[in-house]
Symmetry: C2
Subunit: 353 residues, 2 copies
DNA sequence: TTGAAAGCGATACCAG
DNA sequence: CTGGTATCGCTTTCAA
């Protein structure tokens, strides 16, 4: 079969224990001995057996990252940042840790399934990203699973997600409510009064918080509850497209559309274009997440800058046990970034003419 | 400690062997016995120990996916498709397999590092995506690593990447040359003659193949070699921005810009806008990858439709050993999709006026 | 600083 | 169809 630690030990004329110590670098080993071992490792082209060491050490080098959708750059950026930290250094066996990225599709059930799978792998840490399902039963089911993971030594981090009470997990929540409020205030300050709102899917924390922020801003301007101007849709471009067409059919005199995330905003742009409405000027579109490409798609864009990379990197460090105490909550604040002016309100009829 | 298979066996009054058989479902077990075991598993809330079974079985439930950049939807779509297959069914222990996504940043060195890490994990399969480094030494180093992985039972799939000779890996290459040629032909047919070209980073297979296709098209029209109108840049939006500004400064009379991938195209759009050139009409921009959001960013877009989802799904199935014979090459053809008209050539001066 | 040896928890072969 | 058990390769006390 393949080369084992014993083979290396034999060649270096030391005991397996010593080889293990050299490889893990967690025990003192004399210089010359160390050299000899490393040479043997190189000579034999030896690669440690991960499962075997994980079994013996009762922990692995894997870090799980749960996201709703890998193809969505919102999660991609977070995952990349987490990985840049966990791959950077540390880890057992002088090695790097590997990121297991799991796409839940926002389905609660798959979230639990993946947590079990990661528990099975004895993952060193798990990072849960994005919005959480608000169903109390589901929340409790996740909390229970998290507790079990923690009992078996897995560190849990919540990134862009509310804290999970009764667990030791560290939370890095985003201030979605304030961000959304600022976004709406921006449109209101420009004079918009009939603002369509693309809310996310129902029953998710981000959806509710962002919608609440939006409402607060309108209320402060003495405007009626925006309920009739809001549509719920999945956080996907296609859903944003459909929802916007629906909104336009229902409320033809909108002057602006605010979206709860950038994917929805992109869909809105496409829908407006197909409806014969030019995007900058005629109807303003605002996104939320401030993804790099969004500014190209939505030339007059106002977004809330969520420091995804920073948050992901922090999550990664916490996952490695380099920061934070158990159960700590470290809010990640959003910053309003006006990418470009959304311009003055125009009469749709005129612009269309 | 935690519940083990032996505990389950005791509670179900069967041997550990039987529990293992029930859990893996790969040996016949009598109905009633099976029931009893499953009940015990549920009662004890038992979760299989992944490392232990991987050690005993000499293979794990992990599938590695190497990508250049997780935050790039090009790779995100492929990774999502691979995952949809491998998570769907099969796998040991009636369970699903987990995807380990590794971001190499296009760096050859990290590619080898990750392959070693996956070898250490005894990954069931590895999917290498995207362009390959053309340096012969590097190619040989990767091939050697792949051979070693294959020797230890890991299946290797190359998705959107050229075949690796001397290995048993299955390749699903894209026809980059033909795609790029079609793209340039499209612009030429519209009357463009001074076409800027944003090539990818030097020394990568996709860069070369796409550039060759571009050149072939120009040559067929009797145009000079486009060398002076080409700029190499990393496959990133920021690099596309910089490269386009550079190109515009050097060649002020361009009427179109073709980009070797969509990230570059997005950067080009931003650069043109900042340079005071409107995007549709004044200068045409073409992307390559046909990512969902690109059409929003580049309203007059022509792209080569690369069936990323289909290719990823096939890669996933092959990784599970459900398709293809060792060493097989299954080309994935691109299809020219004209998303929208890039419109007639206009005099830049006029458009600017 | 190094070695010997007892597990870690499942798998799969060999019997029955 | 089920049970006993050697084995997988490494980690980590405990001694020396």
């Amino acid at each position: 079969m393949s080369v084992t630690l014993a083979d290396v030990a034999a060649r270096a004329q030391v005991s397996p224990a010593t080889v293990s110590r050299v490889l893990n670098g967690n025990y003192p080993v004399a210089g010359p001995t160390r050299e000899r071992v490393l040479r043997a490792v190189a000579d034999l082209d030896y690669v440690l057996n991960g499962p075997a060491s994980a079994l013996a050490a009762a922990t692995s080098d894997l870090v799980g990252i749960l996201v709703a959708d890998i193809a969505d750059p919102f999660f991609g950026m977070i995952a990349a940042a987490v990985q840049s930290q966990i791959g950077a250094s540390g880890g057992r066996a002088g090695g790097e840790r590997l990121a297991v990225v799991c796409a839940t599709g926002g389905a609660h059930e798959r979230e639990l399934t993946y947590l079990t799978l990661l528990q099975r792998q004895r993952a060193a840490a798990v990072v849960l990203t994005g919005s959480a399902d608000e169903n109390p039963e589901h929340t409790e089911a996740v909390a229970a699973k998290v507790r079990r993971l923690e009992e078996s030594g897995t560190r849990v981090v919540l990134c862009g997600r509310p804290p999970l009470t009764g667990t030791e997990s560290t939370a890095l929540p985003f201030d979605n409510r304030a961000g959304s409020r600022l976004l709406a205030e921006h449109l209101l300050a420009l004079g918009h009064r009939r603002i369509g709102y693309l809310a996310g899917p129902e029953g998710r924390t981000t959806t509710r918080h962002r919608l609440e922020g939006h409402r607060e801003a309108l209320a402060a301007y003495g405007l009626p509850d925006p309920e009739p101007l809001s549509v719920h849709a999945l956080y996907e471009r296609g859903a944003g497209y459909t929802a916007t067409r629906e909104l336009l059919a229902r409320e033809p005199d909108l002057t602006a559309v605010a979206a709860a995330n950038d994917s929805l905003a992109l869909g809105a742009c496409a829908a407006l274009r197909d409806a014969g409405l030019a995007v900058p000027g005629d109807v303003s579109v605002t996104g939320f997440d401030d993804l790099p490409f969004s500014a190209d798609a939505v030339p007059s864009l106002t977004t809330i800058h969520l420091p995804l990379t920073e948050a992901g990197a922090r999550a990664g460090r916490i996952a490695l046990g380099m920061e934070a105490r158990p159960g700590e909550v470290l809010p990640v604040e959003g910053t309003l970034t006006v990418r470009d002016s959304t311009g003055p309100v125009r009469e749709r009829a005129a612009a269309r003419g």
